[in-house]
Symmetry: C2
Subunit: 144 residues, 2 copies
DNA sequence: CATAAAATCTACAGACATAATAGAGTTTAT
DNA sequence: ATAAACTCTATTATGTCTGTAGATTTTATG
């Protein structure tokens, strides 16, 4: 049930971009890497993936960098995690975004599937309803 | 966020043991393997792990097999998953059973940690409050 | 006692995923 | 022209996952 480093770094970087008050909204890879203690070349790949998923925009060349593709309240943590770590569902037969049959004779009466459906819902209830703006707010107010 | 095959097979086997009505409560590896379509030698390791964790008892020799160490209502799915797949927490800094610091400068104000704490709670709210007896009940009543 | 059924234990192997690292290429401001 | 910055592809090292193999121990039973 664990989040990969890729997912963790990606979330940290996006939260950094949503909360960084250092002036312009455009930020360089190496600055995020330094602030968040992430290997720069690894972060490079991660941000590129997030860009290709439409969550980030970028500007090349001198003075370039990354910035959020939408306002922080429009980007959910669920989108970020799915982009970097794949489906939230513990088993694919309860995935909304990437369903696959899991081979049990009858999915309607499969006990495992019923419970895993609940787990999937519980996870997505948190990650899909929490935006970067929500995270920023909680950080300011010290974690309510 | 996914459940390993080991975890899936272990859960299926435990649910099988909790619901099997074929006569005696003691069941052989190969019977479970056949019913649940699990490679027998792999299941062997899994059941041994569950036994060493105190969730199963066994009897060697002719007429032997495995049986639940407690009644189905006393075994939660959380115990099974933790035994086979490790901590439920997405990141170790929010794990109850296996806490480790994750290196953020201040855990109290770490946005990622706040959210992952909620995810951990959501997962354990499902898995730690659902027993094998609960699963058996839902299977009979067709999934409420 | 011999035999077969069954769990126990250890080792290993192949495939895949993870977590990076490397380096060449492209775009852009100055 | 130069340097800053993103882009893209490949490669590597490590580990985990999934499973297989085989030898060992325990026990019921004829």
């Amino acid at each position: 049930m664990r989040l990969s480093k890729r997912g963790e770094y990606g979330l940290r970087a996006m939260i950094d971009l949503a909360t960084w008050e250092g002036g312009s909204p455009i930020v360089q890879i190496k600055d995020i890497a330094e602030r968040e203690h992430i290997p720069a070349k690894f972060l490079e790949q991660i941000l590129l993936t997030l860009k290709n998923a439409g969550l980030l925009h970028s500007k090349m060349g001198v003075g370039g960098g990354y910035y959020l593709a939408k306002t922080p309240d429009q980007i959910s943590l669920g989108q970020i995690v799915r982009t970097l770590d794949g489906p939230l569902a513990p088993v694919r037969c309860v995935s909304q975004m990437a369903y696959e049959p899991c081979g049990c004779p009858d999915e309607q009466t499969c006990g495992l599937r019923m419970v895993m459906f609940d787990v999937r819902s519980a996870i997505s209830d948190v990650l899909d309803t929490t935006s970067l703006a929500d995270v920023a707010l909680r950080m300011e107010s010290g974690g309510a």
